[in-house]
């Protein structure tokens, strides 16, 4: 072999103990079963959690990258995370609270609004950034292997960290309006968890579709805008007429946002809606993982 003849080459790094010994070391330590098995794609398969776990450090770095870059590029940096839901609250508070006089029950409208816009902002940002994430990482996808689902997953996690920061303002508003902190608040993280699953489900689905049909990127903002008005974010669910209640409950955000708000502002829970919402969230998530996995193999060709 030509290689071992060139032992005189200078190479940076630790000196080589010997040029001839090591090949057998690797040979004798070969694992009994292959670490990697490459097979033709199956028709029905879903995202492998084991693979994502194996690549968890990359997931961490993808989230870390997005956070780092954001603080470097924008002047206001982190403050946008707080400003976005706050400014929206201000706008809606003036137009809907003062002018249209939307009822919000026993709670001040501003507090009611922020408790809805906080999860909504997370949801809409998470869905739109994860939907674009695959196209944005086209270069990586065609050059390196890693579970592709991690790209939209990282996008959702970045937005989740925004939500955590922005919820400090919610605490401040509650203090300002003298809203008592009750034990129900312990349920709030559960609704955020469910919302994350829903955002991930929609994100995976749209991300996969967006690779193939770029129109999705254009349609999505409109769709999300409609979704805002179809959910109890800026008005209470009680405004929806009774004969439309069933359809309204099919929107998983009805349960999640209603539940999140109820847990914070000590309002009664609508258990039936919560149960429907949770089931639909799970179905959507499972469905989208299958869609994603099925389209995953085509990404390098299409992207």
């Amino acid at each position: 072999m030509a290689i071992s003849e060139n032992a005189s080459l200078s190479v940076s790094g630790p000196p080589d103990p010997s040029a001839s010994f090591p090949k057998d070391i690797y040979a004798s330590t070969l694992p009994p079963a292959p670490l990697i098995k490459i097979r033709a794609s199956k028709k029905w398969s879903t995202i492998e959690l084991k693979e994502i776990w194996a690549h968890r450090e990359l997931l961490y770095f993808l989230v870390w990258r997005d956070l780092k870059v954001r603080y470097k590029q924008t002047v206001l940096g982190a403050s946008w995370i707080i400003l976005q839901p706050l400014l929206m609250t201000l706008v809606f508070a003036v137009f809907l609270g003062k002018i249209a006089r939307v009822p919000s029950g026993s709670v001040p409208y501003v507090l009611f609004l922020y408790a809805g816009l906080l999860p909504w902002t997370f949801f809409t940002n998470a869905v739109s950034s994860s939907s674009h994430s695959l196209i944005a990482s086209a270069q990586m996808i065609t050059k390196v292997y890693f579970p592709r689902s991690m790209v939209p997953l990282a996008a959702v996690l970045v937005r989740l960290s925004d939500l955590i920061v922005a919820s400090v303002v919610l605490g401040m508003l509650m203090l300002y309006y003298g809203q008592p902190f009750t034990r129900a608040i312990l349920l709030a993280p559960f609704f955020i968890f469910q919302l994350t699953l829903l955002a991930l489900g929609m994100g995976l689905w749209f991300a996969a579709l967006n690779v193939k049909y770029r129109d999705i990127g254009t349609v999505l903002p409109v769709l999300l805008q409609l979704w805002l008005f179809a959910s109890p974010v800026i008005y209470p669910a009680s405004l929806v007429p009774d004969n439309w209640k069933w359809a309204y409950q099919l929107n998983p955000l009805t349960g999640i946002i209603g539940g999140f708000r109820a847990s914070l502002l000590n309002l009664p829970f609508d258990w039936r809606t919560l149960l429907i919402s949770f089931s639909i969230t799970l179905v959507l998530l499972v469905y989208s993982t299958f869609v994603f996995k099925r389209m995953e193999d085509e990404f390098p060709d299409v992207v």
């Binding site: 072999m1 030509a2 290689i3 071992s4 060139n6 080459l9 200078s10 190479v11 940076s12 790094g13 080589d16 040029a19 090591p22 090949k23 057998d24 070391i25 690797y26 040979a27 070969l30 694992p31 079963a33 292959p34 670490l35 990697i36 098995k37 490459i38 097979r39 033709a40 794609s41 450090e57 990359l58 961490y60 770095f61 870390w64 990258r65 780092k68 870059v69 470097k72 590029q73 990482s137 270069q139 990586m140 996808i141 065609t142 050059k143 390196v144 292997y145 890693f146 193999d297 085509e298 390098p300 060709d301 299409v302």
Partner: protein
């Protein structure tokens, strides 16, 4: 000796009809013709849905420590083979078993972010290439020394010269520690002295007993680095008795093709994006 990589009856077919709608609407047809006239024409001439065979029934085994050169004309299927081994593309049929971790370097600087500093990009790119955090930390000083960028470590890489950028990117990749390493044309970067350094590094890696797959059009590099050479011709594997005869086979093939086509354009074909690359060959 047991093989570390075993490839059995590997095939990859691209369904052209799937990539380009088999009955395109007017809008799609116009957009398609504008975007990629070459593939559009080809598609028209061959009819929709005719499968393209990028790889056909490829089988081989590689033992630990071998440096395997993969050669072939543009569009022969070299990159497809490498991408399957790297798990970027799934095969249409056949099996591959790999008894070790795989690191792929199909392009230097994959996932580099221009706004992040050199230091940050070392960690990011290392993670993308499959290194563990402590692995990167352990090799950090060595990577910086290899790339010769220590003074610019905390500067965003968008301010790097292209030479610095490539050196850093290669330095990270050169410190990958998988048992199987896939390299595609990476030696085409940098000046002569840096290329020399890269070649030395590849030799050092193989001396550690790691297995390397190396795609290149540079026959000199292939000859000096590889103990074994595989030639791919229109998706079919050929291996001569020894590296030298396989390389000669390839050179003969290229010369024959040049005679047929007159001024054939390997340079132009090279600049096409990889998807069009294998089509070009059948045009």
């Amino acid at each position: 000796m047991r093989p570390i990589v075993s490839v059995r009856n590997l095939s990859k077919t691209y369904d052209v009809g799937q990539l380009r709608n088999s009955s395109p609407t007017l809008r799609e047809a116009i957009v398609g013709a504008i975007n990629s006239p070459l593939s559009y024409l080809h598609h028209r001439r061959n009819g929709a849905g005719k499968p393209l065979r990028a790889l056909q029934d490829v089988s081989f085994e590689v033992e630990p420590g071998e440096v395997v050169g993969i050669i072939g004309r543009n569009g022969a299927g070299k990159s497809t083979l490498l991408k399957i081994l790297a798990r970027i593309v799934k095969p249409s049929a056949g099996e591959v078993d790999i008894y070790g971790r795989v690191g792929s370097l199909l392009q230097v600087g994959t996932g580099f972010h221009p706004d992040l500093s050199g230091r940050e990009n070392i960690f990011l790119n290392g993670a993308i290439l499959g290194m563990k955090k402590n692995e990167i930390r352990r090799n950090f000083d060595e990577i910086v020394a290899f790339a010769e960028v220590d003074r610019f470590l905390d500067m965003p890489v968008k301010y790097y010269s292209s030479g610095m950028y490539l050196r850093l990117a290669f330095a990270i990749a050169a410190h990958l520690e998988p048992e199987v390493l896939l390299l595609d044309e990476v030696l085409a970067v940098g000046d002569e002295s840096f290329q020399k350094k890269c070649r030395a590094r590849i030799k050092a890696v193989s001396r550690d007993g790691r297995t390397i797959f190396f795609v290149s059009h540079n026959m000199k590099a292939i000859e000096s680095l590889c103990g074994r050479v595989l030639l791919i011709r229109s998706g079919v594997l050929y291996e001569g008795a020894d590296p030298k005869s396989t390389i000669n086979e390839y050179l003969y093939e290229v010369a024959a093709a040049d005679e047929c086509n007159g001024a054939s354009t390997p340079g132009a074909a090279h600049s096409l994006e990889s998807r069009d690359r294998f089509r070009f060959q059948t045009l």
